[in-house]
Amino acid sequence: MSSKIKLNTPLKEEEVIKLRAGDEVLLNGVIYTGRDAAHKRLLDLLEKGEELPFDVKGQIIYYVGPSPAKPGTPIGSCGPTTSYRMDPYAPALMKIGLKGMIGKGPRGKEVVEAMKRYKAVYFAAVGGAAALIARSVKSSRIVAYEDLGTEAIRELEVEDFPVIVANDVLGNDLYEEGIRKYSRRK
């Protein structure tokens, strides 16, 4: 594995197209959180032709529902949630400029295709490494849907957030390739 690549948000297309499945990346800058309920609301807005609570162009959405912050800390433990539940919503967000998603677990075919079409990538974070990831988060503020509690959309400022490129713009899928490489089944 090559050394870690540092990336700043918002992501530029010329940087995104260079990433390859298997690359280890350290993310820096602002990212947005959103999971099941927030995605449903974002898509409802898109369907009605209304403006989203934040501009997704060049941005990354992190699928996470953090635990409550202890006093004096910006956020609680905040590891990734399983991504396939966001599959029905992801292509529409890439279509309007979303460049990255962070989560855990493989994505469906339509999402992989959308990443090729709209030049976006999917990063895997380590599920359960939630206390470690929290140390990369320097600040957190709620941008929308406070009523959703842990599922609210937050803007996080991150420093060296460790992720692995799971799907790139060429359609490479580390979930498939990694498993094929190590499978001993006939």
Partner: protein
Amino acid sequence: MKQIHVGSIIEAVRNICQEANFYLGDDVQRALEESLKIEESSTGRTIIEQILENAEIARKHRVPMCQDTGAAVFFVELGQEAQVVGGDFTEAINEGVRQGYREGYLRKSMVNDPLIDRKNTQDNTPAIIHTCIVPGDKLKITFAPKGGGSENMSVVRMMKPADGVEGVKDFVVDWVKRSGGNPCPPVVVGVGIGGTFEKCAQLAKISLLRELGRFNADPRFASLEKQLKEEINDLGIGPMGLGGRVTALAVHIETHPCHIASLPVAVNIQCHAARHKSVTL
């Protein structure tokens, strides 16, 4: 008759809710350290190293290892010579959960009804409580918080007795294969065989409470556990499903006699934190 006051139950539950979420079990720590020696994938090793570093941070700062601090599942063994006094037993467990999750800054993940409202209950109650009456005068409470990611990768199948050992093996291995990276491997695979529809599901979950490194007391099932672990690790799923040698840290089987027409089998997958904590009053 020994009397156990609900106040001591509330306090005990409050404490184990936090301990189970903050501290990785010694057996799990050892199993993960061992897995690091076996793992050939560099991505896989990076992931296991992060998991171990994460456990260290959580322990030191008393923060949850995972943001998903789970549905609050309890297994209770109440001695028949003990009497719970001072209030409602179920409410005492729920109050312990309320206090433990609030004071420990644990995430509240329960919704009030599963289908229509899905409103968060804000205190992680109600707990899911399995109670068993046993000899003696002790009260043993085991807390096993279960995250959504791994719990969603669970199944019960009513197999045919003719499916036999091979049928059961294929079913379990295929199920783990289909689950891939979703339940946060390296996992512990809990398998319940026998009983009835609901009994085998409970057995699968109970098997997850067993210390890693211990096998089923029946050598035939111990052997099946080892075979299943090998076949599962041959799948190549690896840490977090990104490919590698280590998919399962262990496979635990629990069995129960069953009906002449039945062969119920359940698979309940546990993530790499394998959280559970017991207290005896």
